[in-house]
């Protein structure tokens, strides 16, 4: 594939700009006490990667155990702890903060033409809270783990286990506040700090996506916080709020928990969708089809996402009427997501498509997220959900949307904005290889799990009937390939920091204010406040800019 839009400066003379946010100050304290949103983003990127690999190692252990039908690799209790920590770490310490805390933090001020987020100190506090929660989670693992599943379902978590529910709950609570403060910062920044001329409908769709996700972060996370507080009170003092013998209802916990945890999945996916909008436009050289529809559908996903939580509770004992209502509402929430897929597809139509790594991940996203989303419809339909819930079908569904969708979007974003963040290009060939390996590995890992689910293999079990083994072996083999696919970026991205080609301001020839300044950017982002005088994704404007540059030389 020789067609590429990459346009790098002459490598014999190009240098990383001497003055940039990385070189501005040196020393550990200048990083640990920074208010610069870009440095905080890098801090997050490093810590997120660390937790991702811990969560990934736990996933590896799960797949190793499931190679054989017997629970022979580890004790079943240990297996319970492994999948619980895998879920807790991957959700609270990787997926929820992934794009917002790294790419969102780095890019939102630049995309709106501001010097920083509205509350830089709160931003730094967010990172410290994240690290504190993460360290507590690691401590929990060392102290013996917790085996309730990441969902902490009562009354198991309150009355029947002796494991570290409280410390894990506390870790999630602290991480929740990190998330709340990030979302709060984004909302205030996007409302109050846009540059002159940057109206709402000239914002990049990445910003719209983060705005919608931030609304969810701010309104939903406190509810899971109080749920965790109540679990703590139940476990320590025995207040009885979830205890049937004292008149409590265990299902109340689930209502409060899923009131957050369903919007949480939209918190996880919306920023990824924002990345996809940016990447797909750049690599089709076309504005996103139906900008308004995509912007409004982001907000619609956020709003409707609040009304559907009990579809995680269909079999738990809620009333049939609640099942009916929540099932109907779940059908509704699928619509805005589908609208986005359609709009991205129409963006591709008659575009000049090239296949650089971010675009490969984007194609992967579109296919895998669509499959994951469609299988969600089977789960939202209460009749089929009764058979499919708590089986591997659910596991496959959420891994398709979260890993096939969100993680691919995260990788697309990291690759897309790597030149901006570091001033260097990653090596294209090996990164394309890694993307393909990831895609293949992913499908081998998780597609068999749909079949296993429909055949009836339950989730969260260390052992299973022997007739399921062949599919499980497929899945584990795929996981190995997937692991290679995730390891490669770490290696070549770190390599590129020293040896990558100098990227220049705008290697992708993208629109967007962040691409109109140097790579890596200055600490204050812009030398003077930019004035926004064109629409988003205006490639004609970009052409005129280039002509002006050439003319002035």
């Amino acid at each position: 594939m020789s067609a590429t839009i990459v346009s790098l400066p002459d490598q014999s003379t190009a240098r990383i700009p001497k003055m940039n946010y990385l070189s501005k100050e040196n020393g550990l304290l200048s990083w640990l006490l920074t208010g610069d949103h870009k440095r905080i983003a890098i801090l997050y990127l490093i810590s997120l990667s660390f937790f991702f690999f811990i969560g990934g190692a736990l996933a590896g252990l799960i797949r190793l155990e499931l190679l054989t039908p017997q629970a022979d690799l580890m004790a079943t209790d240990t297996y319970n702890k492994v999948f619980t920590m895998h879920g807790v770490i991957m959700i609270f310490f990787f997926l929820v903060p992934s794009v917002p805390a790294t790419l969102g933090n780095f890019l939102i001020p630049m995309m709106i033409g501001a010097k920083d987020l509205a509350l830089p100190k709160i931003n730094l506090l967010s990172w410290y809270l994240y690290v504190a929660g993460g360290l507590l989670a690691i401590y929990t693992m060392a102290a013996g783990g917790v085996d309730t599943g990441w969902t902490f379902t009562t009354p198991l978590s309150t009355h029947y286990v002796n494991t570290n529910v409280l410390t894990t709950g506390l870790a999630a609570f602290i991480a929740g506040f990190s998330s709340i403060f990030t979302g709060l910062n984004f909302i205030v920044t996007i409302h109050k700090m846009r540059a002159p001329g940057m109206t709402w409908f000239r914002l990049p769709l990445f910003v719209w996506a983060h705005y919608a996700a931030s609304i969810l972060m701010v309104l939903a996370t406190p509810v899971v916080a109080i749920a965790i507080v109540l679990i703590a009170l139940e476990r320590t003092i025995g207040i009885g709020v979830f205890d049937p013998t004292k008149g409590g209802d265990p299902l109340l916990f689930q209502h409060l928990f899923w009131f957050y945890s369903h919007p949480a999945v939209y918190i996880m996916i919306l920023p990824g969708m924002g990345v996809i909008s940016e990447v797909i436009s750049t690599f089709s050289r076309k504005r996103v089809f139906g900008y308004t529809a995509v912007a409004f559908s982001s907000v619609a996903i956020a709003v409707f996402g609040f009304f559907v939580w009990a579809h995680h509770m269909f079999i738990m004992g809620i009333s049939n009427y609640a099942v009916l209502v929540f099932s109907l509402l779940t059908m509704l929430v699928a619509v805005p997501s589908a609208i986005k897929i359609f709009n991205w597809t129409f963006t591709l139509y008659k575009g000049s498509i090239t296949f650089e790594t971010p675009m490969l991940y984007t194609f992967g996203f579109m296919g895998l997220f669509t499959i994951g989303g469609l299988t969600g419809v089977f789960l939202g339909t209460s009749g089929t959900d009764i058979h499919l819930t708590e089986t591997y079908f659910i596991v496959a569904h959420f891994h398709f949307v979260m890993v096939g969708g969100m993680l691919m979007a995260f990788l697309a974003g990291i690759h897309f904005w790597w030149p901006k963040m570091t001033g260097r290009m990653y090596p294209e060939k090996i990164s394309q290889l890694a993307a393909v390996v990831t895609f293949i590995g992913f499908n081998f890992t998780f597609f068999p799990q749909f079949i296993l689910g429909t055949l009836g293999m339950p989730r969260r079990y260390a052992s299973y009937p022997p007739e399921f083994q062949i599919l499980n072996v497929f899945s584990t083999a795929g996981a190995t390939i997937l692991g290679v696919g995730y390891l490669l970026p770490v290696l070549y991205l770190v390599w590129s920091l020293k040896y990558g080609a100098v990227a220049g301001n705008n290697p992708w020839q993208a629109t967007g204010l962040e691409w109109q300044t140097q790579s890596p950017p200055l600490t204050e982002n812009f030398t003077s406040t930019p004035i926004m005088d064109h629409e988003a994704y205006d490639y004609e404007w970009l052409e005129r800019q280039k002509e002006k540059e050439v003319a002035s030389v």
């Binding site: 700090m193 701010v218 109080i226 507080v229 207040i239 004292k246 409590g248």
Partner: protein
């Protein structure tokens, strides 16, 4: 230093003189900073609404399920202390609002006085709460700590229950009074925690206000804290209505 950087330096210094010291450099001007921080406090209050929302949800469910238990249990709370506390907080909201007015009209001593009154009223609230909690501890109405059902099984020998003419509850309904008290302590405890944090910040503000920090044009800290304080008052308005005033007719 080359000429161009010297010029840039001079220009930056001149620009600095127009900016108050409290203007953070990522903001264009003071209005933007005040507006943004005010909006940020409102968003934070949204998170607080949802945080307490979970507790209110639990309360409403169990009150619906165990109404007789909730009625009897609520009679164990002294409505006089509760009313007094409500008035204390309402007054403290008034003094806080007056404090903001003093800051806006640059009345330094007035501001310190108002913050001081708010501080004292806040402490008074906590003092009354301590008395109330003490009463509950004495009568073993704290869930998980030798919770006693006697007041509900045998209201004749309980002054508070007798005052309202309560009938003895059946045993299972009497057990559900523990749920009421769980929620009572969880909700008022969470509220009290927010009060303690607020009083702490008030102390800090009084100290800074005395030095004139808030009466030279930069009122946002006082204003935004005021929002927090009023919010905590609003939570109590609902807690009072829901926990104390379920039904006190004989």
């Amino acid at each position: 230093m080359s000429e161009s950087t010297a010029i840039a330096h001079g220009a930056a210094e001149a620009a600095h003189q127009e900016h108050p010291a409290y203007l953070r450099h990522h903001f264009e001007n003071v209005e933007q900073q005040a507006d943004a921080t005010n909006f940020a406090m409102w968003i934070f209050l949204l998170t607080e609404i949802m945080f307490f929302g979970g507790l209110f949800t639990a309360y409403l469910i169990y009150r619906n399920w165990y109404y007789p238990a909730f009625v009897s249990a609520s009679h164990q709370l002294d409505v006089r202390w509760g009313t007094l506390n409500t008035l204390v907080l309402i007054f403290s909201s008034f003094t806080m609002a007056m404090g903001v007015w003093c800051a806006e009209t640059r009345r330094r001593k007035g501001l310190v006085l108002c913050l001081g009154l708010t501080f004292v009223l806040g402490l008074a609230f906590l003092g009354i709460k301590t008395i109330e909690y003490g009463e509950k501890i004495e009568k073993n109405h704290v869930p998980g700590f030798h919770y006693s059902l006697n007041s509900f099984l045998d209201p004749e020998h309980d002054a508070a229950a007798k005052q309202y003419g309560d009938k003895p509850l059946p045993l299972d309904m009497a057990r559900h009074t523990e749920v009421y008290f769980s929620l009572y302590f969880a909700m008022t405890g969470m509220h009290a925690l927010h009060m303690i944090i607020g009083i702490g910040i008030l102390g800090y503000m009084m100290f800074r206000a005395w030095g004139g920090a808030y009466t030279s044009g930069h009122v946002t800290f006082v204003e935004n804290f005021g929002l927090y304080w009023h919010f905590v008052d609003i939570i109590w308005i609902y807690l009072f209505a829901l926990l104390y005033l379920i039904s006190r007719h004989p």
